[in-house]
């Protein structure tokens, strides 16, 4: 066991690093209520004016709507492709299995600019004009892996003999899926889907290359920040977004905790 002084030092370090992570997030919440246009510290006074302005700005609404549609579609694709791949990798042994799982992880292992550039030149190459579809394709590449990882982790902890038992008891494929596989995997899929949605909604590096002239919410914010315009609105949107991303991630975290009967036997 560590000495008392070591534990104390490690504890203080932990507190400092956690503060380092969280103080800036708290700060933006304070700035969101800044009643001055000038972004300096300390802020002269408080107002909720900017939340109203942001809420009514049509540019912001259009961007949010585009981001939501892109994130929903990308999450949908990710759920289908990611869970299919996870089932195949978890249940079958075949030649090139490692290569397939490596391929799926590649979009998050490679720098985002490579994925963005590559897709951009692919679309230009094939004369595909940049639109919502191309944004969704770009986001799907890295959202698939989130669903895949979550589903695979859950499948690996469940025993394949459950499926055999189900078949022995006379269930057909659909019934096995409905009454055995689905209860095992549903929360993992929801968790993966929530993470995929959160990542897609927030993505800017790949999106820049696949969005063309349209603005998703992060692209709009990036434009505002670069030009130094509308910064009070940016602060307001930022603090709402921080609060909103907390929800899906906290939910996903809860859902991935071991709950079912299945996990209990095999988990450590």
């Amino acid at each position: 066991m560590e000495q008392r002084s070591t534990r104390w030092a490690l504890g203080s370090w932990t507190v400092l690093v956690i503060l380092f992570l969280w103080l800036p997030l708290g700060l933006i919440m304070v700035y969101a209520f800044n009643n001055s246009n000038v972004q300096s510290w300390p802020i002269p006074g408080f107002t909720t004016h900017w939340f109203r302005v942001a809420w009514h700005a049509s540019e912001v609404r259009t961007a949010i709507w585009l981001s939501v549609r892109a994130a929903l579609l990308a999450t949908g694709f990710a759920l289908v492709l990611g869970s299919a791949a996870a089932f195949a990798i978890a249940r079958f042994r075949f030649f090139g299995r490692e290569t397939v799982s490596f391929l799926l992880v590649l979009p998050i292992a490679l720098p985002g600019i490579i994925t963005g550039m590559a897709l951009n030149s692919f679309f230009v190459f094939n004369h595909i004009s940049l639109s919502l579809t191309t944004i969704v394709i770009g986001h799907s590449t890295f959202c698939v892996v989130l669903v895949y990882n979550n589903a695979l982790a859950r499948l690996r902890r469940s025993s394949p003999s459950l499926l055999e038992a189900s078949a022995d008891l006379g269930a057909d494929g659909w019934q096995t899926f409905r009454f055995v596989i689905w209860p095992i995997i549903s929360t993992a899929l929801v968790a993966g889907g929530l993470l995929a949605f959160a990542l897609s909604f927030d993505e800017v590096v790949v999106t820049f290359f696949t969005a063309g002239a349209q603005n998703t919410l992060p692209l709009l914010i990036l434009g505002y920040i670069r030009l130094g315009q509308q910064l009070p609105i940016v602060n307001a949107i930022a603090s709402v977004m921080i609060l909103l991303t907390v929800i899906p991630v906290a939910l996903a975290q809860r859902l991935m905790r071991d709950t079912g009967v299945v996990a209990r036997g095999t988990a450590k």
């Binding site: 504890g11 690093v17 700060l27 492709l81």
Partner: protein
Amino acid sequence: MSAINPELGAPDRPLRAARLRISGFFWRHRWAKAVLLLAPPLLAFGFVYLASLGALFISSFWTVDPFTTEIKHIWNIDNYRTIWDSGAYRSIALRTIGIAAAVTFTDALLAFPLGYFMARIASGRSRTFLFVAVLLPLWSSYLIRVYIWRLILNEDGVMNWTLGKVGLPHLHLAYTNWAVWIVFSYVWLPFMILPVFGALERVPHSLIEASRDLGAGGFQTFRRVVLPLALPGVIAGSIFTFSLTLGDYVTPLLAGGRPGTQFIGNVVYSSVGISNNVPFAAAFASIPLAVMAAYLLIARRLGAFEAM
């Protein structure tokens, strides 16, 4: 479970019979199921993602007509030669790799004691609390976390206000490489903490006890038992911090924003977005790609993939 489940139909119903036949087919031909499951993701990835990477690589050997900005399909290595010969591009590449390394080192330094505390000292609820406290910033908007640091590091921001309060002189960090380094270290820190925590959590307690029984002191046990076992976790984290820094253009743009803070990503970004020179951008983007490929190979040797 109830004795009769209404959803489990008897075999004589036609729908149920058809489902049993399909199930039987897939039971006898297991490969058919595998093919059915794998085909959609593989086709999607093969035809879009891999084809894109291929197109990117090929286009780096083409040129752009300087007057019409049309891509000309003439095979040459001029793009690569320009990058190699130009001192400016070389220093941008070196800056990118250098800051990526510095960020990785900083994050490892910040993360290790925290990971150690989470894995070996904190328990139960405080560990869950710390885990969530690290995880949430990771998922809150990247762009906004970069932007916040502009507000902090500005001349009249929180940092200089605090320094003034404690009687220290103002620092001029805004829009410098220092700012880029700080912001990168901040945004990628959770990516380092999580695998380091994972690796430290897996170090068996019995090994530490054995080391103490054999007469090793606390420091010796740490250096010769804990550290080697936790190293794959640090390397796994470094893959994220290093790769993400190498490929980024938003942080250098927002936290730096001067010619002297440009990254490879910024040159690529403006080559595509402003001068429409995809071949050159593709050639320059191959540098982080090559660096990452080499790094991943080394990381695999060191067992980092098991620690992810």
